[in-house]
């Protein structure tokens, strides 16, 4: 029987949810509002949420001072490239783990996840030196590889969870019908797991887009994405909050829009298998 919800209880729950959402969203709201302020009102004490002298100047200056389209394009290439490459590697890996598990599969999965718990700075110097030797510093291909490797454990784990939900008999039927491993994955597994793959793709595009540590360390100008674009506005001469906010807003706007339109798919993907 469904639990009866009183209107009072519902109102309280709604209020609590909105409060939590507002607390989480507040820094982003502050940043967006600051981007429309002048530098003096941005640093005014006491801080003001709203100001009288709204301006678009910051955006104009940020646009003029830097090559936003190049950074934007780099972000697109890096986030999409690393995610698609990650999927190409992770789909067969997750297939093997879900459908032909060995004795050590669970340990392997846990080990992969544990690498995400390691502070990135721990491998900074070795990775930097490897990239330097291979001539991959400030190259898109190098960054795509690095970001792919960073997010691969998450991609494999997510796909593994989705694949486990697919009955093995259907893949066996495909095998009986003459599909080899490649065709089985392309014609049967992938279309069946498409909602899960789409969620994985979206989440990893967002993660790669927002990645700042490696993108700043491993790039200078040519392959720098929007995270490096933001960093370039924290000048040594002092902080220009309004311009920094404008640059940040411009950097997150594309991914915010993507997230807004795909939120249903994201939520569905992330809660997949949680309730049966």
């Amino acid at each position: 029987m469904a639990r009866a919800t009183s209107p009072r209880r519902k109102a309280l729950t709604t209020l609590a949810a909105w409060s939590v959402a507002l607390v989480i969203f507040f820094p982003v709201l502050w940043m967006i509002l600051t981007s429309f302020k002048t530098e003096p009102s941005a640093v005014a004490m006491p801080p003001q949420l709203f100001t009288a002298d709204w301006t678009l100047e910051n955006y104009a200056e940020v646009w003029q001072r830097s090559d936003y389209p190049r950074f934007f394009w780099n972000s697109v290439v890096l986030s999409l490239g690393s995610t698609l490459l990650g999927l190409a590697v992770a789909i067969p890996a997750a297939w093997a783990m879900a459908f032909v598990p060995g004795k050590k599969t669970k340990d392997l999965l846990m080990w992969m996840l544990s690498t995400k718990m390691m502070p990135a700075v721990a491998v900074m110097i070795p990775l930097y030196l490897v990239f330097l030797k291979l001539g991959l510093i400030d190259t898109r291909i190098g960054l795509v590889l690095a970001l792919m490797l960073m997010n691969l454990p998450i991609i494999v784990w997510m796909l593994y969870t989705y694949f486990k939900e697919i009955p093995a008999e259907i893949l066996e039927a495909a095998r009986m019908d003459g599909a080899g491993l490649f065709k089985e994955i392309v014609y049967v597994l992938t279309p069946m797991a498409l909602p899960g793959i789409a969620s994985t793709l979206l989440l990893n595009v967002i993660l790669a887009w927002n990645e700042a540590f490696w993108t700043i360390i491993l790039t200078t100008t040519k392959a720098a994405p929007l995270s490096a674009f933001i960093a370039s506005f924290s000048a040594p001469q002092g902080l220009f909050y309004a311009k920094l906010s404008a640059a940040s807003t411009m950097a997150i706007a594309p991914i915010l829009i993507l997230g807004w339109f795909s939120q249903k798919q994201l939520v569905r993907g992330l809660t997949f298998g949680a309730v049966k």
Partner: protein, 332 residues
């Protein structure tokens, strides 16, 4: 062609030998049913033949060729699964055409074969639907259609009717039998339902704990069970198995008599009290508590009106008594 030979086939999972050692020949065009209780290894045996599991030892020959290590697709067999295993993202047409597409057949040829299979299986009006929009029986027909179009050397059925309701099971059973009669292709059918085995098979293979207990036609198994296990497994209601002093009178460790081979009337050797009586109209099933023996199942005609507590005398029909030795094997 579709002759399948198993030679000393063994399958172990770790230290557990699910199938210790099986030798079996399935002739071309035969309808063979593997039957046995849950966990007896019948599905594993089918999967070994299909190539979905690797044998631990032994040899599988299909039409005289060694197929032991061939991948499933290269064995020329088609399989129908218990859960139908249809591709949910494809239409019925694409499901049926899938093996043809994998074989690289032209689209025109695929369509011709799909139409033909759909006509045989009454699926013509459903070709553009997805499996999710079909009933259980229709889904099973699609699975059979997908198997038919491949024109396999043999069909393998893994408990294909288990997910259907009782009425549909009977009609699908008949459809599969008719299909076998028209295609004349070898069929291997796994079930735990001995009624399916009896009604469909040319040859029944009774399995128990990974071993073949007996191979024979349904009536051979019914009339001449090789051992106590087969005697108890084949036939519905089950054969009455009696041990102790009553069996010793017949120089056996166990005697067996089928419920339909016990007559009710004066002068029989056994006297008992009717416990439960089930009136089905055509038949009456009685559970009789027989003095010094125990409970016996008796199948009487529908007209019998015995009730709980009635005292009756029973007599096994002459020549219908089965005798088994201490090792469980039938005595001559």
């Amino acid at each position: 062609m579709g002759k399948i030979t198993l030679k000393h086939v063994n399958k172990s999972f770790g230290d557990v030998a699910v199938i210790p050692d099986i030798n079996l020949t399935i002739e071309n065009g035969e309808f063979v049913v593997f039957v046995g209780p849950s966990g007896c290894g019948k599905s594993t045996l089918l999967r070994l033949i299909a190539g979905l599991e690797d044998v631990s030892a032994g040899r599988i020959e299909i039409d005289g060729t060694d197929a032991t290590h061939l991948p499933p697709a290269k064995r020329g067999l088609a399989m129908v699964f218990q859960s139908y295993a249809l591709y949910p993202h494809m239409s019925v047409r694409k499901n049926i055409a899938f093996p043809l597409k994998m074989a690289g057949m032209s689209e025109a040829e695929q369509e011709k074969k799909v139409q033909n299979a759909a006509r045989i299986l009454n699926l013509t009006n459903y070709l553009d639907r997805r499996p999710g929009q079909l009933s259980g029986g229709q889904r099973q027909r699609v699975a059979i259609g997908r198997a038919i179009v491949r024109e396999p050397a043999a069909f393998l059925f893994d408990e294909p009717l288990s997910n259907l309701d009782a009425a549909l099971r009977v009609s699908m059973r008949q459809e599969i039998t008719e299909l076998h009669q028209s295609l004349k292709t070898t069929m291997i059918y796994v079930t735990h339902d001995q009624v399916e085995a009896m009604t469909m098979a040319d040859k029944i293979v009774v399995l128990n704990a990974g071993n073949i207990e007996q191979v024979g036609s349904p009536l051979e198994l019914y009339h001449h069970p090789a051992n106590v296990f087969v005697a108890g497994f084949i036939g519905s209601p089950k054969m009455n198995l009696i041990g102790g002093a009553e069996a010793a009178k017949h120089n056996a460790a166990t005697i067996g008599v089928r419920p339909e081979h016990i007559d009710i009337g004066e002068g029989g050797p056994w006297t008992g009290t009717v416990g439960l009586s089930e009136h089905l109209g055509s038949d009456t099933f009685l559970k009789v508590e027989v003095d010094n023996i125990g409970t016996l199942n008796v199948r009487a005609s529908g007209e019998v009106t015995l009730r709980h507590g009635d005292r009756i005398t029973l007599a096994p029909q002459a020549g219908r008594l089965h005798r088994f030795g201490a090792d469980g094997k039938a005595l001559a």
